[in-house]
Amino acid sequence: MSQATTVPDVPGPAPTKSSGPRKLTKAEQRAVDAKTRLSSPWASVIAIVIAILWSVPTLGLFVTSFRPEIDIRTSGWWTFFRDPAVTWANYDAVLYGGSTNFIDVFVNTIVITLPAVIIPITLALLAAYAFAWLDFPGRNMLFVAVFALQIVPIQITMIPLLTQYNNWGIVGSFWPIWLSHTIFALPLAIFLLHNFMMDIPRSLIEAARVDGAGHVKIFFQVLLPLLVPAIAAFGIFQFLWVWNDLLVGLVFGSAQEVAPLTVRLADLTGTRGTAWHLLSAGAFVAMVVPVTVFLLLQRYFVRGLLAGGVKG
């Protein structure tokens, strides 16, 4: 089953083969081909148009976030390059202004994100270990069930969960948000980490067992060091997912004291949809951390994607 559930035919980036000079010339040949392909004018035009469409909207809002409020209202951001006037006032207003106070919500997002990344990864690692290396009746069926749970839309769980949290009296604190993110992350996390774990040679585990190591020792001393790239891959997923999430935050954390950045930002769009000096700066306050992490760790993120890690 474990084989059937991996995403097939999406191999990782082809390793640069260095098995002789002939391979190299082939690679070079393809590079030359690429050049001729891009030198056909239509191909270059299409590629450039896509690149522009995918970057200029973000650039526009970024430039806007540094323009004085009055300029933003009276002229387009592209006029900035003709006579640049730069200010930090928008960031100042959105971070410390009484009505927005993004610095507080920024803290909320950090406080929400860290446990919501650490806890599900740990739980999923343990569960994946059980699925990969422990023998017990019904193992395959249970694993298929976990795999199938990935498709359950989280919407379908929300009202009963909220009722339950209400009964426990924990609504309005961080606990329901942490708990919900943990629950929603588990099926994908177990599935992904299990796939990575199955790549570790069985002989390694057997050898440790022969040496008399218990499961906990095997888990921490043999497996964990080998799983660092896998943990990084899923960690980035879960980090981006939680940091950027709106729905869970809105349903389980709409209380003023715990609301994350995304909730406040969406709220601001609804109530002050034309206050572009606040919206632009606010959007970039929310973006700066995930974009930085993403750019630094892109390699691991891509590896996770290729291993079938996609969450809806």
């Binding site: 999406v10 392909r37 891009l38 590629a47 526009g60 729905l247 809105l250 349903v251 969406a266 994607l305």
Partner: protein, 326 residues
């Protein structure tokens, strides 16, 4: 315990966060310590490793899903059985039928357009000098929250009357070309298409990454053989590249389709579901948490679930096929 639930200052918040993590680590350490003894029966070990995750998944996914399915047959306050009345309402009410139609538009257009854009772009920049930068540009929206992306695009669509200086890029382009400026988000079906564009903008990077990896994995021999036959670039794309990566294309399309079904943030942020732009995921939120119509909300959630199933079945069957071919 009051301080664990009531957090005012940032310091208090960080302290409670620390406590939550420590509590978790401590509980897990105790469980593992107690069960990791020689000659412990196997089932206790299994329980220790698997138990916590299993309890959470049953409590937080399985049980609530069953409750919601039951609630979809009950009235809005959950007091009485109404059989299929909620489903009748969803399909009978013209506003909700439009919601379903919009959802179908999203689920068809987003995967197809994103995959097409991702594929074309992946082929065009493959092994060029700017490949890395070019890919990062298209990939980056995946790191931005959908709320952030919605704000970015709402600003692109920003409206000012034609005779005033424009602030939205899209309208400025129209004015430069001699047209009147438009309210992009007001009239159906155009507003839905402009919202769909935002999701395409986000998902294309995903399609590009997966497809680019499989393009690079096409064996050199095949490409060389085609070259010897003297194929043009277009023939190469159509007869060699696309068939070689077909399984990956299917995975990408179905994955994006599933993500699109559940997406809620874009509609919520950009229009709030007004002007006939609502889709099932957004309508679920509005009915359940704003209008207090629990029965309809539950029904919409169940419909969301039902709509995902054929996509998943197709996906799994394609995977099986691909595996048999190998």
């Amino acid at each position: 315990m009051e301080f664990l639930l009531n957090t005012g200052t940032p310091v208090e918040k960080f302290i409670v966060m620390g406590i939550a993590i420590l509590l978790f680590v401590a509980v897990m350490a105790i469980v593992l310590f107690l069960t990791d003894r020689p000659r412990m029966p196997q089932w206790i070990t299994v329980l220790a490793f698997l138990g916590p995750a299993a309890v959470l998944v049953v409590f937080g996914l399985v049980y609530p899903a069953i409750r919601t399915i039951i609630n979809s047959f009950r009235s809005d306050n959950g007091q009485e059985w109404v059989a299929l009345a909620n489903y009748g309402d969803v399909f009978g009410n013209s506003a909700l039928r439009l919601v379903l139609l919009n959802t179908v538009l999203w689920v068809i257009l987003v995967p197809l357009v994103s995959t097409a854009v991702g594929l074309v772009y992946a082929v065009l920049v493959d092994r060029t000098r700017f490949e890395k930068l070019a890919k990062t540009l298209v990939f980056l929206p995946m790191a931005i929250s959908m709320v952030g992306a919605s704000i970015i695009w709402k600003f692109v669509y920003d409206f000012k009357p034609t005779d005033r200086p424009q602030t939205g890029l899209a309208n400025q382009l129209l004015v430069w070309l001699g047209f009147d400026s438009q309210q992009f988000l007001l009239t159906w079906p155009w507003n839905t298409f402009f919202l769909i564009a935002v999701m395409v903008w986000i998902q294309s990077g995903f399609a590009m990454t997966i497809l680019s990896a499989s393009i690079k994995a096409i064996p050199d021999d095949i490409i060389e053989a085609a070259k010897l036959d003297g194929v043009t670039n277009w023939q190469m794309f159509r007869s060699v590249t696309v068939p070689s990566i077909r399984p990956a294309v299917v995975v990408v399309i179905t994955t994006i389709a599933m993500a699109t079904l559940k997406v809620f943030d874009i509609v919520f942020t950009m229009t709030g579901g007004n002007f006939d732009t609502s889709i099932v995921a957004n309508e679920f939120y509005t009915r359940s948490f704003v209008r207090g119509e629990g029965g309809i909300g539950a029904t919409l959630a169940v419909l969301l679930f039902i709509m995902v199933i054929p996509i998943v079945v197709y996906n799994v069957r394609q995977m099986k096929l691909a595996e048999e071919q190998r």
